[in-house]
């Protein structure tokens, strides 16, 4: 192990962290909104609407993210003239746009399923109660379904966030210099893979550690009642 090299590559690699975070946070934010819409569609009574959402989820979950990224970044080149005509080429020329688009569509598909599970776990009685006091469907969603569903979906979503942090490394394949991209560059230049791997791996582990902690904290904040109940149950076990 060459500690000098590790010290030297640390500042270089940490420069990639903002890039990684930018990719992750942007695609997670847009992807989440898309996912909520898709989850609504998926649960729609209209066969056509739910079918479209189901097909979207199926397509994006059964192909590798790398295919999606390449299809958008390299594949768009095949329609360059057309894209230039309608003025979209500026976007598809930019690897950042393509990486974020691919990550967004990908996470939206996975998150859609997580949210759908959450919505389906909402007790029917609660929805009935909302209806009984005359809530509009929108208000019902906003005040009852969504808050309960989100609480249910949180553990699954924290896994998805970690997966997206890992997946953002694929952006390095289309010339973006985030942590993995920089790591590869340093490895190719110095031929010391282990030192670089240790540092960049530690950076990823740190990010993931922080994410899991934030989610654990949010989970406890969002359902304090649940945690109090558990404590009570532990104190008074039988027939209480």
């Amino acid at each position: 192990m060459n500690f000098e090299l590790m010290l030297e590559s640390f500042p270089k690699l940490i420069k990639g962290v903002p890039e990684t975070l930018f990719l992750v946070l942007t695609s997670l934010a847009i992807g989440f909104i898309l996912a909520v819409i898709f989850a609504q569609m998926r649960l729609s009574k209209n066969r056509a609407v739910s079918g479209i959402a189901a097909l979207y989820v199926f397509l994006f979950r059964s192909t590798p993210l790398l295919v999606q990224i390449f299809l958008i970044y390299y594949g768009s080149g095949q329609f360059r003239l057309f894209l230039k005509d309608i003025g979209l080429w500026v976007f598809f020329r930019d690897p950042h746009f393509c990486a974020i688009l691919a990550l967004t569509l990908n996470t939206a598909a996975y998150t859609c399923e997580i949210i759908r599970g959450g919505i389906q776990s909402v007790e029917w009685g609660q929805i009935e109660a909302g209806r009984a006091i005359g809530m509009s469907p929108y208000k019902l969603f906003q005040r009852i379904i969504f808050p309960v569903a989100i609480r249910q979906a949180l553990p699954g979503y924290s896994n998805e966030v970690i997966l997206i942090i890992k997946s953002s490394s694929l952006a390095s394949t289309i010339t973006i210099l985030e942590v993995t991209g920089i790591a590869k560059k340093i490895i190719a230049a110095t031929y010391s893979p282990i030192e670089v791997f240790v540092i960049s791996g530690a950076l990823y582990l740190c990010m993931n550690f922080i994410v899991t902690r934030i989610f654990e904290f949010t989970e406890k904040r969002m359902s304090p009642r649940l945690y109090r109940k558990k404590q009570k149950k532990a104190m008074a076990p039988a027939g209480a």
């Binding site: 397509l59 059964s62 192909t63 590798p64 993210l65 790398l66 295919v67 999606q68 390449f70 299809l71 390299y74 594949g75 768009s76 080149g77 095949q78 329609f79 970690i162 890992k166 997946s167 953002s168 490394s169 694929l170 390095s172 394949t173 993995t180 790591a183 590869k184 490895i187 190719a188 031929y191 893979p193 282990i194 791997f197 960049s200 791996g201 990823y204 582990l205 993931n208 550690f209």
Partner: protein
């Protein structure tokens, strides 16, 4: 889009793409098998009485599940080459760089990562077997090996099947990453084909469809095995 590019034979890329799909399947199967081996060992470590083993297995799964596979591939590809070269020059007196075969690199990397996912699945399945059954085995004097073979293994296989099916899907998709080090599987072949025909969209589309086919067919296969394995089990 020009679909005549996809015909079989010398004029089109159809047969090349199909061969590449077989390569994807081969490397996925090899990595998956390795993953199950790693996963079983790590699950055994996790359930061990000894703290050191448990810590080691925990370290393995946290590490693999928190670090991008791509980074792991770069490490093994470059690191393995350097390691081999050192061995080569030390023992055989051979100078120069020895490359690790890409198939082996890919298999080891993806297997290592799917092992971490397998380990959780297998651990859960082992814990799902009621303790009383093991105790019953002890009571009638079965040896530990026989207990494993006759009580644990048949049930663990059944409990672990759905989870292992998920890991297979993950493994299959992760093998696309091996293309970055040059193994000619679906992604690499698509890159080569789109480079020479200037039709990247067509070929990445085909790549996507091939993956779709592979995942769908294998999904069907897994659910068939599941039905077979659960024959004679009463369900709700």
């Amino acid at each position: 889009m020009n679909f005549s590019l996809l015909i079989f034979g010398d004029a089109g890329w159809g047969d090349e793409m199909l061969m590449a799909a077989l390569m994807t399947l081969a490397v996925s199967a090899a990595a998956y098998f390795l993953g199950i081996v790693f996963g079983s060992i790590s699950a055994a470590f996790k359930l061990s009485r000894f703290l050191a083993f448990r810590l080691l297995a925990d370290f393995y799964t946290t590490l693999v599940r928190g670090i991008p596979e791509l980074l792991l591939i770069y490490l093994v590809f470059f690191g393995g080459g350097i390691f081999l070269s050192k061995i080569g020059s030390f023992f055989l007196g051979r100078e120069g760089f020895i490359d690790l075969p890409v198939f082996v690199t890919g298999m080891v990397c993806i297997g290592f990562s799917s092992g971490a996912y397998c380990s959780e699945v297998i651990r859960g399945a082992v814990q799902a077997v009621p303790r009383g059954q093991i105790e019953a085995g002890v009571a009638i004097g079965m040896s530990p090996f026989k207990r494993f073979l006759r009580i644990l293994l048949p049930q663990v296989m059944r409990y672990a099947l759905p989870g292992l099916g998920n890991v297979w899907q993950l493994t299959l998709k992760h093998t696309s990453l091996i293309s970055v080090i040059g193994l000619v599987e679906i992604m690499r072949q698509s890159a080569v084909a789109s480079g020479s025909t200037k039709e990247p969209f067509t070929f990445y589309m085909v790549a996507g469809l091939l993956y779709l086919g592979l995942t769908t067919i294998s999904n069907r296969g897994f659910s068939m095995v599941e039905i077979w394995a659960n024959k004679g089990v009463r369900t709700v």
